[in-house]
């Protein structure tokens, strides 16, 4: 494998890991509530921006990161309590507009609390590139990949090995029956927003040292994470992770070999192709429609 290709694959994996985390957030919320949360990208932005501002206030990095993640989770919980719960039973279009409204609101808030400028954050462990098979990789990329793998493993264990994780899965299959089985469906809903916000915030903290952040950074990251979720089959968490890496690698290879101008279009072309030819997603099962 040429060093050049390896280089593109590494940068694709790094971006793909972030899309995977965002896509996971979409899937978790969709499973619990059938809501597509268009404010998912804003969680990423808040995670990054809050860490940057807390670092600037002089806090040590681990404390700053922890506080930023907690703040983002609080925003996620507030979103569910104040915007999603009161609108229960609304149509899909209405819910889409509510979460888009929330994303505009959060961007407006970020612009008031912080500012419109771009901010940078130092990497976790230096910025001397490491040579792997001829490709130079910044240490932060390894942090992104390592943390993503750890999070995916933890989530897998949570959903398959714990009682509450299984309760969440049960709710996503059929919330009425889950409720009859004594599962607190409202808490599951709240918890999935908190979990999605947590994943978004971690993605934001991980990626900010590589890509800079500002109040609008969540828009494109959110949409690409959404593509990851759709490519993998909406509501299929493991599919969302695979979808994230597919989108990330396709994007960096297009940027390297075809045209960097059209890099951002790749995710959306993939979505259209997947939707046209495999509407259930690459890993989803074809379901029959109940009439």
């Amino acid at each position: 494998m040429s060093a050049e290709l390896l280089q593109f694959i590494f940068s694709g994996l790094t971006a793909g890991a972030i899309y995977a985390l965002v896509g996971l957030g979409f899937s978790i919320i969709y499973n619990a509530s059938q809501v597509i949360n268009f404010a998912q990208g804003e969680f990423v932005m808040i995670g990054g921006m809050a860490t940057v501002s807390l670092l600037a206030a002089g806090l040590p990095m681990p404390v700053a990161i922890a506080l930023a993640v907690v703040a983002t989770v609080a925003v996620g919980i507030a979103l569910e309590k104040l915007a999603i719960e009161p609108a229960r039973g609304a149509s899909i279009v209405t819910l889409i507009i509510i979460t888009i409204g929330a994303s505009i609101f959060l961007r407006g808030l970020a612009q008031v609390v912080w500012d419109r400028n771009f901010h940078s954050m130092p990497p976790f462990t230096g910025d001397t590139p490491i040579n792997i098979g001829g490709a130079s990789v910044v240490p932060q990329s390894l942090w992104v990949l390592g943390c993503t793998v750890a999070i995916v493993a933890a989530l897998w264990a949570f959903f398959n090995r714990t009682r509450f994780g299984k309760a969440i899965l049960a709710t996503s299959y059929n919330s009425d029956i889950a409720r009859l089985m004594g599962i607190n469906v409202r808490f599951v809903l709240l918890f999935s927003f908190a979990l999605a916000a947590l994943l978004g915030a971690i993605a934001g903290v991980l990626i900010t040292p590589i890509i800079l952040t500002n109040y609008q950074v969540g828009v494109l990251l959110g949409l690409k994470g959404f593509s990851a979720a759709i490519v993998g089959g909406l509501g299929n968490p493991m599919g969302a992770i695979a979808g994230g890496f597919v989108v990330g690698i396709a994007e960096s290879i297009t940027a390297g070999y075809v045209s960097s101008d059209y890099k951002d279009a790749v995710a959306f072309v993939i979505i259209l192709l997947v939707l046209f030819f495999r509407p259930q997603g690459l890993f989803g099962r074809r379901g029959a429609e109940r009439v």
Binding site: I98, I230, P279
Partner: protein, 315 residues
């Protein structure tokens, strides 16, 4: 009298009366400018409402059609010196063809998948417009020659007011007739249940494609008019946010209500003008208003108010 209480005749008449009387309340260029922009958005929304409100579909990519019409006119008149009155129908025909081609695969999708498919389509249009700098001027946008009628270039806001008003009334009239025709009934059946309507012998795919193309062509015409009116066009017209604004206008005014679409366009176009005085807080308040109205009035303004009025009359 009874005919007047029907939406098709009475509603259209009230719209014409409002349009004729409105200039009495407009006393400067700035007011005219806002009302013209409302009119342009209303034209798009009346078309989009056929697709969202009546056929029960969703599109997060209609700004793409608006921008394709706008750039079509801008490029044909600016680079190739076509007369504006040829460029407009040519762009609309091209947009109609594009919509027709993407309609079949995209309209097989439902709900969130349809939202995502149309969103992807709109964003691809946005990226192409932004990147093809030689043709479109790229992110900086491009200047557009003015509209000419009988050899005179149209700059005056009052003339534009009457042009947009005429097109708006024509669009509303067209929409009301479609809604009252067998096509409109087929669309409402599809909204109710696609499997049931196909069992009834309605060609679901064909009607959905038809209304998609109609709404795309209407958006394209509005885009062409907008580009000549503003004299300048930037890729943001194709942006995701613009698509969201259009859908919000339709839903805010009230789904499946043609006049609701006009009201929604009016409110949501005027709101940012009022909020502009808030400066940094503009986005914050806009997002909050969007969430608030959708949470408390999920059916939109016009149907909610109409229902209140009905209840009050019954008492």
């Amino acid at each position: 009298m009874r005919r007047l209480s029907q939406a098709r005749t009475g509603g259209l008449l009230s719209l014409v009366i409002v349009i004729v009387l409105l200039p009495l309340a407009l006393d400067n260029i700035y007011h005219y400018d806002i009302v013209i922009r409302i009119g342009i958005n209303a034209i798009v929304c009346v078309g989009l409402n056929l697709f969202i409100g009546y056929a029960g579909q969703i599109s997060l990519g209609h700004a793409g059609f608006f921008a394709l019409g706008a750039y079509g006119s801008a490029i044909l008149t600016g680079h190739y010196s076509w007369p504006a009155w040829f460029a407009l129908p040519a762009s609309a025909a091209a947009v109609g063809m594009i919509a027709f081609v993407v309609a079949r695969p995209i309209l097989r999708l439902k709900g969130h998948y349809l939202a995502m498919g149309t969103l992807g389509m709109g964003i691809i249009v946005f990226i192409v417009i932004t990147q093809e700098v030689a043709l479109t001027g790229g992110p900086d946008g491009m200047p557009v020659p003015p509209l000419t009628i009988a050899g005179t270039e149209i700059y005056s806001e009052t003339t534009w007011y009457w042009i947009i008003a005429t097109v708006l009334v024509a669009t509303v009239w067209l929409a009301l007739n479609i809604v009252d025709s067998p096509i409109g009934r087929a669309l409402r059946a599809i909204h109710g249940s696609e499997p049931a309507s196909s069992v009834m012998g309605i060609n679901v795919a064909r009607y959905k494609a038809m209304v998609f193309v109609i709404s795309a062509v209407i958006a394209s015409v509005a885009g062409s008019l907008f580009t000549h009116y503003s004299g300048f066009i930037t890729p943001s017209e194709a942006g995701f946010l613009h698509s969201v604004e259009l859908v919000t206008m339709v839903v805010l005014g009230g789904m499946a209500s043609t006049f609701g679409a006009v009201v929604g366009a009016g409110l949501l176009t005027a709101l940012p003008q009022l909020l502009a005085t808030l400066r940094d807080y503009e986005m914050l308040v806009f997002g909050a208003v969007l969430m608030g109205t959708m949470i408390f009035m999920p059916h939109g303004l016009v149907p909610t108010i109409a229902a209140m009025f009905q209840r009050w009359r019954r008492k």
